[in-house]
């Protein structure tokens, strides 16, 4: 299976609320020689914080149906979202290694005429860029004078690297791979207090108790501001939304632009700025 041809899992927040992340991802991966295949008929991953909290069997059955779409096309899955990565990776990991669980989920899938064979791999955009494309290939695409020097607060989010005993991508307490990509783009990744902290939105907390979610977001923003950053770089549309809309909900106490890594890459690669969809960001992006 060629890892330069990947099934592009869209999820929900990216295609509906930040389609600029989608067009940026398609644009930068095309310029890096990656072919994206549409996973026709895919659904919500489904969102781990809510769906898994309610019923783990439903969560895995819907995720497994999504896996079968890639399987039937003969491709592995690529996602730019930590939530989608969590649902799909965790489900693939469990079903690919546990025949009993696979049997249980396939009993459900049989009713919709599907079968998961337990072989599909799921990859996250950041890990894929770092380990499959490589920093040199990324550096080679960066346009000189691609913009003024920027100091970035890199936000890993939670479900990209954790749980680390399952994901096995990087050290969850002191990760480097996302920072290395940002630095390869010619942007300085700065240290800030509690850098690994959650954006606050996950686990159904934003939906149920938005004020609590926002308190966590605010604390991170205070720490990012203290470090003097120009921009927040995320690798998850839900974290993206929490920081972008969250700053409006916090009455514009902060005004730090929020970019998904794909959008930062679009800027640094010199993609048409009109195709990055920055105008729908609620916190204005003036870079």
């Amino acid at each position: 299976m060629s890892e330069k041809k990947m099934g592009f899992f869209l999820g929900c927040i990216m295609p509906m609320r930040y389609p600029g992340i989608e067009s940026s991802t398609r644009g930068v991966l095309k310029s890096l020689g990656v072919e994206l295949v549409e996973l026709k008929g895919a659904s919500c991953c489904p969102a781990p914080g809510v769906t898994r909290s309610f019923d783990q069997t439903t969560w895995q059955a819907i995720a497994a149906r999504n896996l079968t779409i890639a399987q039937n096309l003969g491709v592995n899955i690529l996602t730019i979202c930590n939530g989608c990565f969590d649902s799909l990776f965790e489900t693939a990991h469990q079903l690919n290694h546990d025949p009993e669980k696979l049997k249980k989920i396939n009993k459900i899938l049989k009713e919709i005429g599907a079968e998961y064979k337990g072989e599909t791999e799921v990859r996250h955009f950041v890990e894929y860029l770092h380990n499959e494309i490589g920093l040199d290939a990324i550096k080679a695409k960066v346009k000189e004078n691609g913009g003024k020097p920027l100091k970035a607060a890199v936000h890993y989010g939670c479900h990209f690297l954790k749980p680390s005993n399952v994901k096995k991508i990087d050290n969850s307490e002191r990760p480097v791979i996302f920072d290395e990509i940002v630095e390869a783009l010619g942007v300085e990744s700065v240290e800030y207090k509690d850098k690994g902290s959650c954006c606050g939105a996950g686990g159904g907390v934003r939906a149920r108790t938005p004020d609590v979610a926002l308190k966590m977001t605010r604390e991170n923003l205070v720490n990012m501001k203290a470090a003097g950053v120009d921009v927040i770089i995320d690798c998850c549309p839900f974290c993206h939304l929490q920081y972008d809309v969250g700053q409006v909900e916090l009455k514009k106490e902060f005004e730090i632009p929020v970019l998904h890594l794909s959008q930062l890459m679009g800027l640094r690669f010199g993609l048409d700025k009109e195709k990055l969809g920055l105008e729908v960001h609620r916190t204005p992006v003036k870079l």
Binding site: P46, D55, I62, K162, P163, T209
Partner: protein
């Protein structure tokens, strides 16, 4: 004020273990989880206490509590636990049990319904379609939104697993 002794319920504790919290009894109450919790830093939610209540099977203290829903599932406690307690898995097991007892917040029902009825957790508005078109993307994403037969499959899964009934709150 009188203090009423709470009665441990080993059957409930066993149910938590069986539902996915298999590492629950490894906890020795050091509190690393509470000290690491970004939600607990903003609220009175104490992860260590939740785990202790689960070990003792204090069902009534857990099932209907708001604390159970303050975890963002960030996994920091899970990563740092010196005993290898997979705390998020314990919390997921407890949440599944709470939902089966009819405890699901209206806001959560709304999201669950969106997923079970539309296949997505957010809707596609006219303004989203317009922006997608402007960006050179398919106006309607090539997901269940373009493929009704795929949406039927998702709905059928929700019916087979009883998820649709669970959202209505009737299932036990």
């Amino acid at each position: 004020m009188t203090t009423v002794a709470k009665r441990p319920d080993a059957v409930f504790a066993k149910k938590v273990v069986d539902a996915g919290g298999k590492t629950l009894n490894l906890c020795f109450q050091c509190g690393t989880c509470t000290g690491s919790c970004p939600s607990g830093r903003q609220t009175a939610f104490r992860t260590r206490k939740l785990v202790r209540r689960a070990q003792l099977g204090l069902k009534e203290d857990i099932i209907g509590s708001d604390d159970l829903w303050l975890c963002t599932t960030c996994y920091t406690c899970y990563e740092r636990c010196p005993r290898g307690v997979e705390i998020v898995d314990v919390i997921m097991a407890l949440r599944n049990m709470a939902v089966r007892e009819g405890h699901m917040a209206p806001q959560h029902k709304k999201v669950a319904e969106l997923i079970s009825k539309t296949g997505h957790m957010v809707n596609l508005r006219d303004e989203d379609k317009a922006l997608r078109k402007k960006l050179g993307l398919a106006e309607v994403p090539p997901t269940v939104l373009q493929h009704p037969e795929a949406l039927d499959a998702v709905k059928k899964i929700c019916s087979l697993t009883g998820f649709d009934k669970l959202i209505e709150g009737g299932a036990k």
